[in-house]
């Protein structure tokens, strides 16, 4: 025990303020072992270190991190080799790391490319190109140690400069990746990245950011590390990367084939090959899995894949995610200028019924803020809003709006039309008539700017939001009163106290402070209710029963390098 304690002390002496704080929280029992492992890896402690500290400093609460996001691991039972076939949604653009902004394209990038770290199903960061990372005192400078001896598929050796130039290209305001910039805007600016030697990359941030490593992990799916001299527009010719698979062939609109990379720096891939097949629609994907033409479906929805949920020949892998819908109500236009009216609408909705009906239970109930239950920084002590028709009617009558009608605009995709219908029904129970105006995505989103977009101009609408591993973007773009930041602010919400709270949240480096601010934000949003967040639904993948060890993450990333067949 003394020896262990001495080792722990020695370790702690070398760790940063932030890391010590996390260890303190764990020792005091304020966070679970699982949470400690997660926070530790996010902040840059290596997994062996974290495991050692977890055992040494905690009571051992017995909660081993179960492989959530993976199929059951039957040790020793999987065969070596094999050819895995994957059904992937059709990529919408050419495979250019700067242009990809869809799930299909992300699947292509991640098939051969690697990131600084991999954000897994439990929001832990597993080191990949980066071995370790750590912040300075106040979280404004993050230093990443780059793994040495990593080779690109072409044979060239990866050095820190490749990492630096990759990010330079991504955040370049003149032709970079709009997607990556939505995550890194306001966090990292051009010129802020240095590569002082082959094994070190330094990120100088615009402001302190406790969640930075996640923002440059696989969660930012454009951020695959590519050679410094490769023009991203040419990436589609070779799919150049460092991953366990390398490209053999690519047919646009049809599919792509990959083979094992025998020069991989880590554990070689188990399958001999991986074939991606592109599908335009979900139905054929599901039929293909059932018919034995693919072994793994990267993503399916509850509504389209009910058959799979009950199929005994299929493994369903459910990963908690922050994918959600936002029902916005314009705070600057009738009938929603009075917050009591907005609260009434929110109170008319039976969220659990939506989760059960629309998602077969494969979702978490939302509490009208971007703080999804899966985020560690979410304060779950804030009371969950439940359906309360009486109170809703009372609020409407207090506001003098006992019956009115309003248009709800949205588009015809996923379960959104069903959600719109249900919202309409709930509203009718409190005397509100909703007229549905459902079009297609192109019409709803329009040009994506105020004045030219139904999404941003409509009085009431439903918008779909993809998963993000930290709530930062959800807190700013859809709700900020600053027109330069609130580019997705369809509710036209303007609240100075809210904006200042969000600033505090982003700068907070440790869980406690983040949670403290989150609590205030959650309560403010419950009061103002510019947007109803009805649920956060899980990310579902499926594999054939005999395919094990597939790994899925809520970002749509999948990792089949450890997968194998049992028969």
């Amino acid at each position: 025990m003394d020896d262990t304690q001495r080792r722990v002390d020695a370790i702690r002496n070398e760790r940063s303020e932030l890391e010590n704080h996390i260890i303190d929280e764990y020792s005091a029992g304020k966070i679970t072992r699982r949470e400690f492992v997660r926070r530790g890896t996010v902040v840059g402690m290596s997994i062996p270190l974290v495991s050692f500290l977890a055992a040494a400093c905690g009571g051992g609460d017995g909660g081993e991190t179960t492989g959530a996001g993976t199929t059951p691991t039957a040790t020793g039972e999987i065969q070596a080799g094999g050819a895995v076939r994957v059904a992937l949604i059709q990529p919408t653009t050419e495979p250019n790391p700067l242009l990809v902004q869809d799930e299909g394209g992300a699947g292509l990038l991640g098939s051969t490319g690697e990131f600084l770290s991999f954000s897994n199903a439990e929001l832990e960061l597993e080191p990949r190109i980066a071995e370790t990372w750590e912040p300075n005192e106040d979280g404004t400078v993050w230093t990443f140690k780059i793994r040495q001896g990593v080779k690109f598929h072409s044979g060239a050796t990866l050095v820190a400069d490749d990492v630096k130039t990759t990010f330079d290209k991504l955040i370049n305001p003149d032709g970079g990746s709009a997607n990556a910039q939505s995550a890194l805007g306001g966090v990292l600016s051009p010129g802020g990245i240095e590569a002082p030697d082959d094994s070190t990359v330094v990120f100088n941030l615009d402001a302190a950011n406790g969640n930075f490593p996640t923002l440059v992990s696989s969660a930012n799916y454009n951020a695959i590390i590519i050679p410094a001299d490769l023009d991203p527009a040419d990436w589609g010719k070779t799919f150049e990367g460092t991953g366990p698979f390398k490209m053999e062939s690519f047919s646009p609109k049809v599919g792509a084939k990959f083979v094992r990379n025998d020069a991989y720096w880590g554990t070689k891939a188990n399958p001999d090959s991986m074939e991606l097949k592109f599908y335009d629609e979900e139905g054929p994907m599901i039929v293909a899995l059932q018919g034995g033409e693919v072994d793994f479906v990267e993503h399916f929805s509850v509504s389209g894949g009910k058959a799979l949920l009950d199929d005994p020949n299929v493994n369903v892998i459910a990963v908690k995610a922050a994918t959600h819908r936002q029902l916005h109500m314009r705070t600057d236009k009738e009938p929603f200028t009075d917050k009591r009216v907005r609260q009434a609408i929110a109170l008319s909705i039976d969220r659990q019924a939506l989760v059960d009906g629309l998602w077969e239970g494969q979702a978490d109930v939302g509490n009208d803020s971007p703080f999804a239950p899966l985020y560690p920084s979410t304060d779950t002590s804030v009371a969950q809003r439940e359906q309360d028709l009486e109170q809703a009617k009372q609020l409407l009558s207090d506001a003098g709006m006992t019956s009115f009608s309003v248009d709800l605009s949205t588009w015809n995709g996923f379960e959104i039309p069903d959600l719109a219908q249900l919202v309409k029904q709930y509203a009718s129970q409190i005397g509100v008539t909703i007229n549905l105006k459902i079009t297609d995505a192109g019409t709803y989103y329009g040009d994506g700017v105020f004045g030219k977009s139904t999404w941003l101009d409509s009085v009431m609408g439903i918008t779909d939001y993809g998963h993000r591993p930290v709530p930062n973007v959800y807190l700013t773009a859809p709700l900020s009163g600053d027109p330069k930041v609130g580019v997705w602010n369809s509710a036209h919400f303007k609240n100075d106290q809210y904006d200042s709270l969000v600033k505090q949240y982003v700068a907070a480096l440790d869980i406690d402070s983040q949670k403290g601010v989150a609590k205030q934000i959650e309560e403010l949003l419950l009061d103002e209710t510019p947007i109803v967040f009805p649920y956060f639904y899980y990310f579902l993948s499926a594999s054939k029963k005999n395919l094990l060890n597939t790994v899925s993450a809520a970002t749509g990333q999948f990792d089949l390098s450890k997968a194998g067949f049992t028969t």
Partner: protein
């Protein structure tokens, strides 16, 4: 004959030109723009503007059209805006796939439907006739995605006799390719059978009731010879016209079936191109389908005139 062909070619060229203009204008009326589609709904407007500028889609529509058409006349179909590849690299494989499926469906449905129609006409108003006409009509009326899904379920999943998608793996043998194409082709057969059979039936009945047929029979010719020499070539005239007009649909209109069976054909290509507002790809693909359609109808007209001397002599004047 030569004059006839020249006139037709001239008219075809005008038709295709008008078609291309219509496609360009029509697609431009839809909201949204290429860069916005590529970068996504949540991208910065400045990034969208920049990409639009790079792709050349911020130029006036007339300029874009002119660029495309002048390239076309030099044999350059342009570059796809969505995929950043030469259009012919995308159209080539898609067209091959569509032709394979169309040919397979064609080879199955045309003889079957013609036989069915003739049989129905010969056994007019009897049970056979009723079965063929009403049965065929019922099958045609069922939407193709319903038929397709039923076939997938029954023959693909439950009985496991055929693959559920239509695209055979690379290097598959001819027979394997046919196996993969069977279900979608069968779907098309079911959809088209009733229509073609009825037209054939109507044509055959008309021929059977004609004076010349009665004369031939009264002359003492056996029924078989009467049918072969006098009835058939006249009854098939409307059928040929109908079959020709279906060719355009078979090559470029099978969006639903291609999606259902995950088959990378022209239908899906055109549909995605329209959604993406990918002008070069869209215009070139539609033009190609237009050409196929015009060639098919031209061949039909030639066959028509070969079968029907009255037409032949009429055009010769």
């Amino acid at each position: 004959m030569a004059r006839f062909l020249l006139t037709r070619l001239g008219l075809a060229a005008i038709t295709l030109f008008l078609l291309s203009v219509f496609v360009f204008v029509g697609a431009n009326l839809l909201p949204g723009n290429v860069a916005r589609r590529k970068l996504g709904n949540l991208a910065d407007q400045s990034a969208v503007d920049q990409l639009n500028h790079q792709l050349g889609t911020d130029k006036p529509i007339l300029v874009q059209y002119w660029n495309w058409i002048s390239g076309l006349l030099h044999g350059d179909l342009g570059t796809s805006l969505s995929y950043n590849l030469p259009v012919n690299e995308l159209i080539g494989p898609a067209l091959t796939h569509s032709v394979k499926l169309a040919a397979f469906a064609f080879v199955m449905v045309v003889p079957l439907a013609i036989l069915g129609g003739i049989l129905a006409a010969l056994k007019r108003d009897k049970l056979t006739d009723r079965l063929i006409t009403i049965g065929g009509l019922s099958l045609t009326v069922v939407p193709e995605f319903v038929t397709g899904i039923m076939l997938i379920l029954v023959f693909g999943l439950w009985l496991d006799l055929f693959p559920v998608s239509a695209n055979a793996p690379d290097g598959a043998s001819f027979l394997t390719e046919l196996k993969y194409l069977f279900l979608p082709a069968l779907t098309l057969v079911i959809v088209l059978f009733g229509y073609i059979a009825r037209i054939t039936r109507a044509g055959t009945i008309e021929a059977l009731d004609a004076d010349y047929t009665r004369t031939a029979a009264l002359k003492g010719l056996p029924r078989r010879v009467v049918i072969r020499r006098h009835v058939l070539r006249n009854s098939l005239l409307p059928t040929i016209a109908v079959v020709a007009t279906q060719t355009g649909y078979l090559i470029g209109g099978l969006v639903v079936i291609e999606t259902l069976f995950n088959y990378p054909g022209m239908g899906r290509l055109i549909f995605t191109a329209a959604n993406d507002k990918d002008f070069p790809l869209l215009a070139s693909s539609v033009l190609l389908v237009g050409i196929v359609f015009l060639v098919a109808t031209l061949l039909a007209d030639i066959a028509y005139s070969l079968l029907n001397p009255r037409i032949r002599y009429a055009t010769a004047e």
